[in-house]
C-alpha cells in the first residue's frame, strides 16, 4: 500500500507543469525514501530527475517499492481539477494498475476522488555520476527564465560562458546577435535575489534554447535556479521544490561546429 499526503497540492501541480512539456509519460518510483522520477525526453538529449523526499510529505507510507507508469498529460489534467489550497492524497495498492488522487478542501467540506490508469513503461534508468562542476551559477529563477526567453528570439542555440567577471549568455541568428552579461552581486542581502558564481575554471558551452525554455517551466517552484557546468558534460539546471525535494534537468551540450 502506498499513501502520500501533501497539504500543498499546488506543489505537485507545478511539478507536473514543469515536466509535462518534456515528457509524455514517466515512471514514478515510490520507495521508503520518497518519490523519484527519472526520464529522458523523446529525443534523448535531456534528462529530468525529480526527487520528492518522504519527509517532505505531511504523511507518507510506502510498504513496498512501487513503480507507477503515468501518462503525465492525464495526471496534469487531474491536478488541474484541484483548487490551490486543496490537500492532496495519492493512494495506490501494491500491485494495482490504477492510482488514486484525492483532493480535500481545507474545511473538509468537499472531497474529490480521481482514479487514473497506470501504464507499462519501459524503464531505462541512467546512472548519473557525481561530478565536481567547474562553474556553479546561482541566480534568480525569474531572471534566468527571462534571459532564455529573450535570447531564444535571436537564435536556436545559446552560448553560456562563465568567467571570473561573471556569466554571459549569448545568441546569434539572422536578426543579429544578443549578449546578456550578469556580474556577481556584491552585497548579498537575500540569497534568492543574488547572482552567485562559484568558479574553478572558465567554461563555455552551447545549448538548445528550446530545451532551456522548457526547463524554465519550473520557475514557479523556486525563486532560485542553480546552473552547474563543466566542459563537455551536460548542464544541470536545478530548482528546489520547497522543503520537499528538487527537480534537476540535464541537458547535453551542442556539438561544436568545426569551423567556429
Amino acid at each position: 500500500m502506498f499513501e502520500a499526503r501533501l497539504v500543498q497540492s499546488s506543489i505537485l501541480k507545478k511539478v507536473l507543469d514543469a515536466i509535462k512539456d518534456l515528457l509524455n509519460e514517466a515512471t514514478f518510483d515510490c520507495s521508503d525514501s520518497g518519490m523519484q522520477l527519472q526520464a529522458m525526453d523523446n529525443s534523448h538529449v535531456s534528462l529530468v530527475s525529480l526527487n520528492l523526499r518522504s519527509d517532505g510529505f505531511d504523511k507518507y507510507r510506502c510498504d513496498r517499492n512501487l513503480s507507477m507508469g503515468i501518462n503525465l498529460g492525464s495526471m496534469f489534467k487531474i491536478m488541474k481539477c484541484a483548487a490551490n489550497d486543496d490537500i492532496l492524497t495519492i493512494k495506490a495498492q501494491d500491485n494495482a494498475d490504477t492510482v488514486m488522487f484525492m483532493f480535500e478542501s481545507p474545511n473538509q467540506e468537499k472531497v474529490s476522488d480521481y482514479e487514473m490508469k497506470l501504464m507499462d513503461i519501459d524503464q531505462e534508468h541512467l546512472g548519473i555520476p557525481e561530478t565536481d562542476y567547474s562553474s556553479i551559477i546561482k541566480m534568480p529563477s525569474g531572471e534566468f527564465s527571462r534571459i532564455c526567453k529573450d535570447l531564444s528570439q535571436f537564435g536556436e542555440s545559446m552560448v553560456i560562458s562563465c568567467t571570473k567577471e561573471g556569466v554571459k549568455f549569448s545568441a546569434a541568428g539572422d536578426v543579429g546577435s544578443a549578449n546578456i552579461k550578469l556580474a556577481q552581486t556584491s552585497n548579498v542581502d537575500k540569497e534568492e535575489e543574488a547572482v552567485i558564481i562559484e568558479m574553478q575554471e572558465p567554461v563555455t558551452l552551447t545549448f538548445a534554447c528550446r530545451y532551456l525554455n522548457s526547463f524554465t517551466k519550473a520557475t514557479p517552484l523556486s525563486g532560485q535556479v542553480i546552473l552547474s557546468m563543466s566542459a563537455d558534460v551536460p548542464l544541470v539546471v536545478e530548482y528546489k521544490i520547497g522543503e520537499i525535494g528538487q527537480i534537476r534537468y540535464y541537458l547535453a551540450p551542442k556539438i561544436e561546429d568545426e569551423d567556429s
Binding site: 534508468h125 541512467l126 530545451y211
Partner: protein
C-alpha cells in the same frame, strides 16, 4: 457405362471405369467391393469432416463400406486404356475409412438426441444418408437413447475422445512397426542410426499420428483432442534447429536462442511508440535537439 476388371497381382484390383465422356483410373482392393451385391459402387459427394466442404467418397454397392478417394494429379501423364488413350492422367486411390469420421460432425452438430437417419441429413449433400447403412458402431462416439429400434443417439464428447485416442494408439503402433520417420526433418542422412531410446521419438510419433487424425476431425475437436492426449505443444520455430542440434552442444545453442529472444523483446514497445504522430510541440522540440549530443552518451545505463 462400361466396366472391365483386370486382376493385378501386386495391388489387388485395378479398376478402370470409363464413362462416355471421360475415363478415369481408379485403384482399390477388389475384396472391399461386396461381391454379393448387385449394386455397383458409387462415387458420392459428401461433406468432409475436417474442412466441411464437399469431397468425393466411394460407397460400396451395399453402402456398408466407405472408401476415401485420393487423387494424384499429373498433368504430364496420360493412360493407354485398351486401344485408346485417356488424356486424364490422374490416378484415384481408394482406401477404406471409418465411416464414423464422416458421421462425427453431424452428431456434434445435433445437440439433442435424434434418430440417426435424421441426424445424418444434409440439404447440400443428400447422399450423406447412405452413412446410416454403413457398418459402424455409433455408440463409440455417442450415447444410445431409447429403444434400439429407434436408433437414436446423442453425441458424447468423452466417448469420442476415447475413441480417437484408441485410433491414435493404433496409428502409433503401426507407424512404429513400419519404422516411419516422424522426426521434424524429413531428410535423414544415410548413416543415421535410429535409436529406440530416443526421448523425443515417442512424442514425434504421437504428433505425427495426431496430424494424420487431424485431417479427419473438425477443427473444434482438434484442440480438445490435443489437450486430451496431453500432446506437448509444438516447439517454436526458432527452437527447431536447437531440437536437432541440442544433443551435441546444448548450451551453446540454447544461449543463442535466448539472446535472440532478448533482443527482440524491447523492440515491440518502441515500435508502438513510433506509431503515434508527434504533436507540433514535440516536433519542434525534436528539431531543437538536432546538433545536441545524446544524454545517454554521458550517463551510462544502470
Amino acid at each position: 457405362m462400361s466396366k472391365r476388371n483386370k486382376q493385378d497381382a501386386k495391388e489387388g484390383a485395378k479398376k478402370r471405369r470409363s464413362t462416355i465422356s471421360k475415363r478415369r483410373v481408379v485403384i482399390f482392393k477388389s475384396e472391399l467391393l461386396s461381391p454379393d451385391s448387385e449394386e455397383n459402387p458409387t462415387f458420392v459427394q459428401i461433406r468432409h469432416p475436417s474442412s466441411g466442404n464437399g469431397a468425393t467418397f466411394l460407397f460400396s454397392g451395399d453402402n456398408k463400406k466407405v472408401l476415401e478417394v485420393m487423387q494424384f494429379s499429373d498433368s504430364k501423364r496420360s493412360y493407354f486404356i485398351d486401344d485408346s488413350v485417356s488424356s486424364d492422367g490422374d490416378t484415384y486411390f481408394c482406401t477404406p475409412m471409418d465411416p464414423l469420421f464422416l458421421a462425427l460432425p453431424y452428431l456434434m452438430k445435433t445437440k439433442r438426441c435424434c434418430p440417426l437417419d435424421q441426424t445424418l441429413a444434409d440439404e447440400e449433400f443428400p447422399e450423406v444418408e447412405r452413412l446410416v447403412h454403413c457398418t459402424m458402431d455409433v455408440s463409440l462416439i455417442a450415447d444410445r437413447r431409447g429403444d434400439e429400434s429407434l436408433n437414436a443417439f446423442i453425441y458424447n464428447e468423452e466417448k469420442t475422445l476415447l475413441w480417437l485416442q484408441t485410433k491414435l494408439e493404433r496409428l502409433i503402433a503401426v507407424l512404429k512397426e513400419k519404422n516411419i520417420n516422424t522426426s521434424k526433418t524429413v531428410a535423414v542422412s544415410a548413416n543415421f542410426v535410429k535409436t529406440d531410446d530416443d526421448e523425443d521419438s515417442g512424442v514425434n510419433y504421437m504428433r505425427y499420428a495426431y496430424g494424420m487424425i487431424l485431417d479427419y476431425i473438425p477443427e473444434s475437436l482438434a484442440t480438445k483432442f490435443a489437450e486430451f492426449i496431453k500432446l506437448p505443444p509444438e516447439p517454436e520455430k526458432s527452437n527447431k534447429r536447437k531440437e536437432i542440434v541440442s544433443p551435441s552442444q546444448p548450451n551453446g545453442k540454447k544461449s543463442k536462442v535466448e539472446e535472440e529472444e532478448d533482443s527482440y523483446e524491447p523492440k515491440t514497445p518502441a515500435a508502438k511508440q513510433d506509431k503515434k504522430t508527434p504533436s507540433a510541440k514535440e516536433q519542434a522540440l525534436a528539431k531543437a535537439a538536432k546538433g545536441t549530443k545524446s544524454i545517454s552518451s554521458f550517463f551510462k545505463k544502470k
